[in-house]
């Protein structure tokens, strides 16, 4: 996998993850291209696109587009399921996730993603395990916070 982008129907970026080193300019270009290409797709088209030598797999969940860039020999359906599993993971963690959850807690969304994918490869697919990992660290956070008796930001 090369990158994962989340953006809204309005083309606002909500999350970005890059698995290969790119310059800021390249990233900006990809983000711009992805939002225009994906948003311009007609409904009931297939979920795959070509972009340069990459395959773009995208899927819309309510108001959010998930867009994954993979090497062209990758299995598109599998990539689609990667997106789906990530959505399920977010859903499990946030409980009926919505775009707002991701906007306000984007760092959590990143942490979940890091447990699921590592270095561009699927690392762990079990919902339970990933959730446990994240919750463990969150627990730690809560106890620390109690200890420091300060309000959460």
């Amino acid at each position: 996998m090369r990158f994962l982008l989340l953006f809204s129907r309005q083309g606002k970026l909500r999350l970005q993850k890059w698995y290969t080193p790119l310059t800021e300019r390249e990233k900006k270009k990809i983000i711009r291209d992805m939002t225009t290409m994906v948003l311009a797709r007609q409904p009931r088209s297939c979920n795959f696109l070509h972009w340069k030598d990459l395959k773009i797999i995208y899927k819309r969940y309510a108001s959010l587009y998930f867009c994954l860039g993979v090497e062209s020999q990758e299995n598109e359906l599998l990539a689609l399921e990667v997106i789906h599993r990530y959505v399920e993971l977010l859903d499990k963690y946030f409980g009926n996730v919505c775009e707002l959850d991701i906007i306000f807690n984007f760092e959590k969304a990143y942490f979940i993603l890091d447990e699921f994918l590592m270095g561009g490869e699927v690392q762990e697919t079990s919902k339970q395990t990933i959730n446990r990992c994240i919750e463990n660290s969150d627990m730690l956070q809560e106890t620390m916070e109690e200890y420091m008796s300060k309000p959460a930001f």
Binding site: R9, Q10, H50, L77, V97, G119, E121, F153
Partner: protein, 1122 residues
């Protein structure tokens, strides 16, 4: 998935205004981030947003740089900074603070710090160096979460040079008691393998341990590495085939814990990874493939749930079945499966079905016939992506009969498409098939005109290149050539008379070249008219300088007759003072030659077309000039890298960070030695420089700014040069690929009429799929890469200069039989053989027990440790398999049998022919000996053998044509191999085409040789070594294991290297040793070894950029075996 996410942005305002709502607590809307986000959503214009964010950034900057900020506040600020960056505003002031946060914060702050670092910086950012120590510290932490974070960061982005610093710690984590740590460590190592394979070379057997890990998750992670390693070297892992099959069997039958299920499908990601591995292992390997048949069948059967993930698995299964050695039962099932995909109403499945069909169509053209109506429908699909994929499919089934229809469809698509990348790609494909199958001249030229106009200036440069080459070299029949050229001239004249503003530059270049070369063929065409047309081009504003030079050169060729000369003169006046030096040069040439018609006639003879021109890439003809200049006191030439190094040396600050924490400690003496480059430049003198130059020339690194236009890789510039006429020498680095015309014979007649109502579609179908069924006309693209294919000429075209030297000859030494190879295993064969055996750790779960059992069972011979399948290994198994008599029939020619050589390896075989090969190590080159043995009952005729390699120069040793091979006899061909570009393993690919009982047949094969076959000792004195050391700039450093069982580890180690790799030990002084070697044709590599504790710090230098890395790889392997 709509059940998961229902809320949309429309709900946003109400949610934001009601903080007390349940669920909004999570939104932490009281926080500053919340405020920022809300502020932004309330804004209406981009301008306001910008103002707000800039304001926010300013206050963030103040906040983070204040000295008494707590880490906690820092974390909060960092989150906001990330948010601003995500909106597209730069917050670079916070980068350093992100690193600080990762360094100093408590665990939770650290996590945000690491996240910010990952998002802000990329692998090449210099600030990353500051993170290395933090990562080191966290890797050693006792806190699991810290270790996890560090491993995640390491796999996300880590500077390549710093890998050695943390590698031991990551390796250590492979033995960690927690599986999550082991898993992450394996993935981190996978990442290292991708960016720097040599660095993790020594831990290959630890990967094997990870593969046998008791936790399936760790095993899964290790498969990523295995897939990559097997891709790089499939031969090295054949012994694992049975183990992978066993794992897959267990996964498929649901033996894994429920945790691994995904929508009640057992571990799909794991399954797919395994299928990919198996398909590589089974490719062209009947034995390995046979082990897989059962489990593939099982996988097909099990995948019955109607879910995307099952289809993903099925698709991978189908691909695997079509890649490995064919099994008719499985093929049938796979074909059915593809059929279901293609006719599916789900558009994603249809897409994948088309993709699968494209993939298998090379082997099974009948499938395209079965689905022709679906394909036609897809061609008119509203979704452009589906259309594009269908064209890809059609491209694969193009033949001489359907080419016009397919090209028409492609051009139709091109007219609609707006996407640059796909335009370039498709234009290339049109050019390729048009060139290959063009039914007539007119069509061909017109199609190419469209290609050039549509492709514009983004077109791949080799399209105009090979088009011009085709025109100039032509076909067998000279008459046909002239017709084609004439047609091109006519067509271009009328184009130039029309609307010229829209023609792209590249097209104009082609036009001017063709007119310059061939307009004289049209006798009724006045050259003055052509020149006038060309001069009109020069007046266009958007003309690039490059195109102008093309035009000027065309004029030079044409200017004869008074009126043309006067036009030429006025053009010269305009350009002879141009700022562009190349243009000016051409203008002067034009001026001179237009005035002196005698000289012009001498230089530009009309028919001097295609004799190849020798090019002296070492520029040795300049040697005299250079030595004269040197004698007159000029400064010697220094290559750019050396100049840069000197510049770097002048800076007093050492730029190599954390040197002490690095396991490698470079010897200080060599460091200081490096600072006196002047010494080198003088002493290495002229000869040293010129070898270096020529080597650079080979690797196309030499930069000649300014002259680039003439000598650069855009070879055609020099080609149309009237003074050079170097038509043949374009593209020396890309030899013509073997043709992939593996025509699959099939018995089906041309498509039988299908009872489909639409007549139009019917017609289209019959024109598209014509020729697919009938045996004679099937011409399917081979699997070789399409860009390389483009170099190929039309079928009727005579071979390009390169191919001529390579094919069509034989050394008739087939009768020489005296040394039976299989009884006489030579030294060199043993030399490269590797064996390591790893005792597996104890296992607990069922899976591991089985896997482990299997590992042992399947490998009665010692387990191949890592990587390199060498020829000797291969033969070992083959010899045991083969009947004895077959083996003994292959032997080396008498004069070669005394030399060190590898064992004879079987390359490929079919009913009629068996190919085998071995390589012989000569002093100055390596000889590849190919044995062609005809095992059929009829004679083989019209034999062509073509052997090429990307990294090697291959030339045929004997120039006599390859004769026919009588039944049950054998022929031997010998090829000289020289290194073009060093790699760890060289691959030579070839194709043999022949006729038996008037049937044309072709077989393809490939042969691998290790770099070590090319390594020879380089005998130099210590002084010479010193000079050379300074002159070379490509270096690699690495710690290697010492041989510690003897008295003197250094001497023992160096002796071992000397013995196994053929290096020359120059001198051993105390704890340091210097060693030298060369690749066969004088490509030296120097090694500086220094004992450092229990390791050997080796520093390699060479003028060839790739050589140190590759040699190091072999050193490592040799030392690990002991």
């Amino acid at each position: 998935m709509s059940d998961v996410v229902e809320k949309t942005l429309t709900a946003l305002p109400s949610l934001l205004s009601l903080d007390s709502q349940p669920g909004s607590a999570k939104l932490s809307s009281s926080s500053k981030l919340g405020a920022l986000i809300r502020g932004i959503t309330e804004l209406t214009s981009k301008h306001e947003e910008e103002k707000l964010v800039q304001h926010e950034l300013a206050s963030l900057k103040d906040q983070v740089s204040s000295p008494n900020i707590s880490m906690r506040q820092m974390k909060e600020a960092m989150v906001r900074a990330i948010y601003c960056e995500m909106l597209g505003y730069e917050a670079s002031f916070s980068y350093i603070h992100a690193i600080k946060l990762a360094q100093q914060g408590s665990i939770l702050d650290k996590r945000v710090g690491y996240l910010a670092v990952c998002l802000f910086l990329n692998e090449n950012h210099e600030l990353l160096l500051l993170l290395v120590n933090t990562v080191l510290k966290d890797l050693q932490s006792t806190n699991l979460i810290e270790v996890c974070m560090a491993l995640t960061v390491v796999s996300q982005m880590f500077p390549k040079d710093m890998i050695p610093a943390i590698l031991p710690l990551v390796e250590e984590k492979l033995n960690h008691s927690k599986e999550i740590i082991r898993r992450k460590a394996v993935l981190a190592l996978y990442k290292f393998y991708l960016i720097a394979p040599n660095q993790v070379q020594h831990i290959h057997n630890k990967f094997r341990k990870a593969l046998c890990d008791k936790d399936p998750g760790v095993m899964f992670a290790s498969l990523h590495i295995y897939l990559q390693m097997i891709k790089d070297n499939p031969e090295g892992y054949k012994d694992l085939t049975a183990s992978f099959v066993t794992i897959l069997k267990q996964v498929v039958s649901g033996k894994l814990p429920m945790d691994f299920n995904y929508h009640s499908v057992p571990a799909p990601w794991l399954q797919i990874q395994l299928l990919r591995i198996l398909s590589i292992l089974g490719k062209n390997d009947q034995m390995s493939s046979e082990i897989m048949y059962d489990v593939l069948d099982e996988s097909l059967k099990r995948a019955e749930i109607n879910h995307n993930i099952t289809y993903a698995i099925l698709y991978e299964c189908v691909k695997c079945i079509y890649t490995i050695y064919p099994n008719s039962d499985l093929l049938e099932k796979a074909a059915k499966c593809i059929g279901n995909f293609v006719i599916s109403s789900k558009i994603n499945l249809k897409y994948l079905g088309l993709k699968a069909l494209t993939f298998v169509i090379q082997q099974d053209p009948k499938l395209a016939l079965q689905h022709q109506m679906t394909i036609i429908e897809c061609l008119d699909h509203p979704d452009i992506i589906i259309k594009r994929e269908t064209l890809e499919l059609l491209f694969r089934i193009t033949n001489a009969q359907n080419v016009t229809v397919i090209v028409e469809k492609m051009l139709e698509f091109l007219h609609q498409s707006k996407d640059d990348h796909s335009t370039i790609d498709l234009v290339g494909k049109v050019a390729e098939i048009a060139e290959k199958y063009a039914p007539e001249n007119k069509w061909f030229i017109e199609t190419m005109n469209t290609v050039f106009s549509l492709g514009g200036d983004m077109i791949q440069p080799d399209i105009p290149n090979s088009f011009l080459k085709l025109l100039s070299e032509g076909f067998d029949s000279e008459e046909e050539n002239q017709k084609l050229r004439l047609f091109a001239v006519d067509s271009y004249i009328s184009l130039l008379e029309g609307e010229i503003k829209k023609l792209p530059q590249r097209f104009l270049q082609v036009i001017s070249w063709v007119l310059g070369e061939y307009s004289h063929l049209r006798t009724d065409l006045d050259s003055a008219r052509v020149i006038t047309l060309l001069a009109k081009l020069l007046d266009m504003k958007q003309m690039s300088g490059e195109t102008k030079t093309w035009v000027l050169m065309a004029m030079t060729k044409l200017c004869s007759g008074e009126s043309s000369i006067s036009i030429a003169q006025s053009v010269c006046d305009d350009y002879s003072s141009s700022m562009d030096t190349v243009l000016r040069q051409r203008a002067h040439e034009l001026q001179l030659l237009s005035q002196d018609s005698a000289l012009r006639g001498q230089l530009l003879t009309l028919h001097s077309g295609s004799e190849p021109l020798e090019v002296d890439s070492s520029l040795s003809f300049l040697d005299a000039f250079v030595s004269e200049a040197l004698a007159a006191g000029a400064a010697p030439y220094k290559p750019p890298h050396q100049r840069q190094e000197e510049l770097a040396q002048e800076k007093a600050l050492s730029l190599e960070p954390y040197e002490l924490s690095l396991p490698i400690n470079m010897s200080s003496s060599s460091l200081t030695g490096r600072q006196s480059p002047t010494l080198m430049s003088v002493s290495s003198g002229l000869s040293g420089d010129s070898t270096e130059l020529s080597l650079k020339g080979n690797t196309t690194i030499l930069k000649l700014e300014g002259v680039k236009r003439v000598w650069g890789k855009e070879g055609y510039l020099s080609r149309k040069d009237p003074l050079e006429e170097v038509i043949q020498v374009e593209n020396p680095s890309s030899p013509s690929q073997p043709t992939g015309t593996g025509g699959t014979p099939s018995d089906t007649p041309t498509p039988s009429a299908t009872p489909e109502p639409e007549h139009g579609k019917q017609q289209l179908a019959s024109s598209l799929f014509i020729g697919l069924g009938s045996q004679t006309s099937v011409f399917l693209m081979g699997k070789s890469d399409p860009t390389a294919q483009r170099i190929r000429r039309k079928v009727k075209t005579p071979n390009s200069s390169m191919a001529v030297t390579e094919r069509g000859s034989v050394s008739s030494t087939s009768s020489a039989v005296d040394n039976l190879l299989c009884n006489n295993i030579p030294e060199s064969a043993n030399m490269v053989q590797e064996v390591t055996y790893e005792t597996p750790p104890p296992y607990k779960t069922e899976l591991d027990a089985r896997l482990n059992e299997d590992l042992i069972d399947s490998t009665p011979s010692p387990v191949q440790s890592n990587g390199v399948e060498t020829t000797s290994d291969k033969t070992e198994s083959e010899i045991t398999d083969k009947p004895r008599d077959e083996c003994s029939s292959i032997s080396l020619p008498a004069k070669l049998s005394g030399l060190p050589h590898s064992e004879v390896t079987s390359l490929c075989s079919n009913q009629t022919v068996e190919l085998s090969a071995c390589h012989v190590e000569k002093h100055d080159y390596v000889l590849l000996v190919i044995f062609i043995s005809n095992s059929s009952d009829s004679d083989m005729e019209n034999i062509h053998l073509q052997v090429i390699s990307e990294q090697l120069e291959v030339s045929l040793l004997c120039e006599s044509p390859l004769q026919d091979i009588a039944k049950h006899s054998m022929a031997v061909c010998q090829y000289l191999l020289n290194v073009r570009r060093p790699v760890v393993h060289f691959e030579v690919v070839g194709m043999l085409s022949y006729q038996t009982s008037s049937e044309n047949q072709e077989v393809e094969f490939s042969y691998k040789l290790p770099l070590t076959s090319f390594v020879r000792p380089l005998e130099v004195s210590t002084e010479q070594y010193g000079t050379m050391w300074l002159a070379f700039s490509n270096d690699t450093k690495q710690n290697l294991a010492l041989v510690t069982d003897g008295q003197d580890p250094l001497t023992d180690t160096l002796d071992l290297l000397k013995k196994k790799l053929g290096l020359h030990v120059v001198e051993i002084i105390g704890v340091e040793g210097i060693v030298a070697c060369r690749l066969v044709q004088d490509q030296p590599c120097l090694l500086h070894c220094r004992v450092h504790g229990r390791t050997l710090a080796v520093w390699l230098r060479s003028p060839i950029p790739e050589l140190p890395d590759c040699l190091l790889y072999h050193c490592q392997r040799v030392l690990e075996e002991t």
